[in-house]
C-alpha cells in the first residue's frame, strides 16, 4: 500500500540559507505522525511544503499520488483535500463562526448553501461549539477559536490534516480542550501530521515521532521506541529538556 503522504529528499533554501536538508518521510493512511524539535529546526517549514504553502527547490512531495511540486498540479484543488490548522487559528474575523465553515465549502467544493450549513453545524457540534455558530471569532477564546478552525478544516472532508503547533499560542488551561478534539480525530482514523511540543499527546495517539534539528530529520521512530530509547544524542537532549515539565 503506497503511503498517503510521501516526502523524498526534500531540500529548501531561503536565499543562501538552507532550511531543509534532504528530508524524507512517509505517512501511511490513518497514521498519526508527530514532528518535534527545537525552534528553527524547520518543522513548520516542512509541514507547509506538504500542501504547497511554501515552495521548495529540490526533492519530491506527493499526497495521495499527486505531486505537490509539479507545476501542472492544480494546487488549490489539492489543498482543498488537505486540511491545515495554524498556530494562530486564522479564523476569518469578519465572518461569523458558521460562515467561516460554510464559505470554503460553497466557494471551493461548490456545495449548496443548505448542505454546507448542515455539515457545518454538525461539525461544530462535534467539537462542542454548536451554540457559538452565530458568534464572531473575536468573541471566542483561543481554545474555542482553534476548535472552530479544526471544524473548518474538517468541513472540507480532507484526506489528511496538517497541524502547525496548534496549541503553542494557547493559555495552558485551554490546551487540553483542543488536544481532546485532536485525539478524537486520531482515533477516528484521520491521517495526521502534527508539529507540536505536547509529548503527552504524542504518547497517546501518535504512531510515529519524527525529530528534526537544523533542517534535518534526525530521527524517525515508532512512538514507544522514541521515548524509551532515542538513538541520537540531540534527540536525547531535546527530550530531557521537554520532559522536565
Amino acid at each position: 500500500m503506497s503511503a498517503m503522504i510521501e516526502i523524498a529528499d526534500l531540500s529548501k533554501w531561503y536565499g543562501p540559507t538552507q532550511v531543509l536538508k534532504d528530508c524524507s518521510a512517509q505517512v501511511a493512511k490513518g497514521e498519526v505522525v508527530v514532528v518535534c524539535g527545537p525552534s528553527g529546526s524547520g518543522k513548520s517549514t516542512l509541514i507547509k511544503c506538504v500542501n504547497g504553502l511554501e515552495p521548495f527547490q529540490a526533492g519530491r512531495i506527493s499526497v495521495d499520488g499527486i505531486s505537490v511540486g509539479d507545476p501542472k498540479t492544480n494546487l488549490p484543488k489539492l489543498r482543498a483535500r488537505i486540511g491545515m490548522v495554524f498556530q494562530h487559528f486564522e479564523l476569518f474575523p469578519h465572518l461569523s463562526v458558521i460562515r467561516n465553515l460554510t464559505l470554503p465549502q460553497i466557494k471551493v467544493l461548490h456545495r449548496d448553501a443548505d448542505e454546507a450549513e448542515e455539515k457545518g453545524t454538525r461539525l461544530l457540534d462535534r467539537v462542542g461549539l454548536a451554540a457559538y455558530a452565530g458568534k464572531f471569532p473575536g468573541q471566542l477564546s483561543g481554545g474555542q477559536q482553534q476548535r472552530v478552525a479544526i471544524a473548518r478544516a474538517l468541513a472540507m472532508e480532507p484526506i489528511a490534516m496538517l497541524f502547525d503547533e496548534p496549541t503553542s499560542a494557547l493559555d495552558p488551561e485551554m490546551i487540553q480542550e483542543v488536544l481532546d478534539v485532536m485525539v478524537a480525530l486520531a482515533r477516528d482514523g484521520m491521517t495526521m501530521i502534527v508539529v507540536t511540543h505536547e509529548m503527552g499527546f504524542a504518547r497517546k495517539v501518535a504512531h510515529r515521532v519524527v525529530f528534526m534539528d537544523q533542517g534535518e530529520i534526525v530521527e524517525d521512530a515508532p512512538t514507544a521506541d522514541f521515548f524509551v530509547k532515542p538513538h541520537s544524542g540531540r534527540a536525547q537532549l531535546f527530550l530531557s529538556k521537554i520532559l522536565q515539565h
Binding site: A80, M84, H88, F92, K107, G138, M156
Partner: protein, 230 residues
Amino acid sequence: MFSHFDFDVIIRSLPYLFYQGITFTVLLTALATLGGIVLGTLLALMRLSGFALLTVPAAAYVNLMRSVPFVLMIFWFYFLVPYIGQWVTFSSRPMQVGAFASCLVTFTLFEAAFFCEIMRAGIQSISRGQVAAAQALGMTYPTVMGYIVLPQAFRNMVPVLLTQTIVLFQDTSLVYVISVTDFLGAASKVAQRDGRLVEMYLFAAVVYFVISLAASRVVGLLQRHIAIIR
C-alpha cells in the same frame, strides 16, 4: 466693523450660492471620490501584483500625482483635457469640454493616487496568515482577495477614505483659479459684485468649517461602529 455687517447680503445670495455653488462643489466631491476609488483600487492592485509591467507605471503615476501641486494639475488639465479628448475620440478638433468635466477628470485622476496608497496600506495590513489559511482551504487568488482580504481591508480603510474625501471637499475650492463657479467662486462673485468681501468670505469659511467638522465627527462615529471585533 460689525455695526456695518451686512447679513442681508448673505441671505439674499443664499439661493445662488446654494444652487450654483454648493451643488457644484458637492457633486464634484462625490463623483471624484467614486471615480478616484475605482481607479485607486485598480492602481493598488497593479502595484501589489508583483509584475514589473504593472507595478512600475502605477508607482510612477502615484508618485507623480503626489509630488506636483494640485493647482498646477488643475491648470494643466484645463488646458489639456480638450486635446486628450480629441486624441481619444479621433476627432479633428479639440473636444469641447465643460468646466465641470475638466475638473472632474482632474480631481479623479489626482485623488486616485491618494486612494491607491490608502488601499495599498489597507490591503497590506491584512496578515499573511489570513491569506495562508484561505489558500490552505483551497481558495483561488480571486476568491481569497474578494472574500477574505478586501472585505477586511475595506472595513479598516473606510475611515481613512472618508477623511480623504473631506480633504477633497476642501480642495474643490481651488478651482477658483480657473474661474470655475464652485461654492467659493460663487461667494467670491457675490462679494465682488456687491462689494461685501468680509461677509461673504467669512460666510464661506464658516460653511466649509461646519461641513468639514460635521463630516469628520461622523467618520469618527462610523469608525467605532464598523470596527471588526477582534
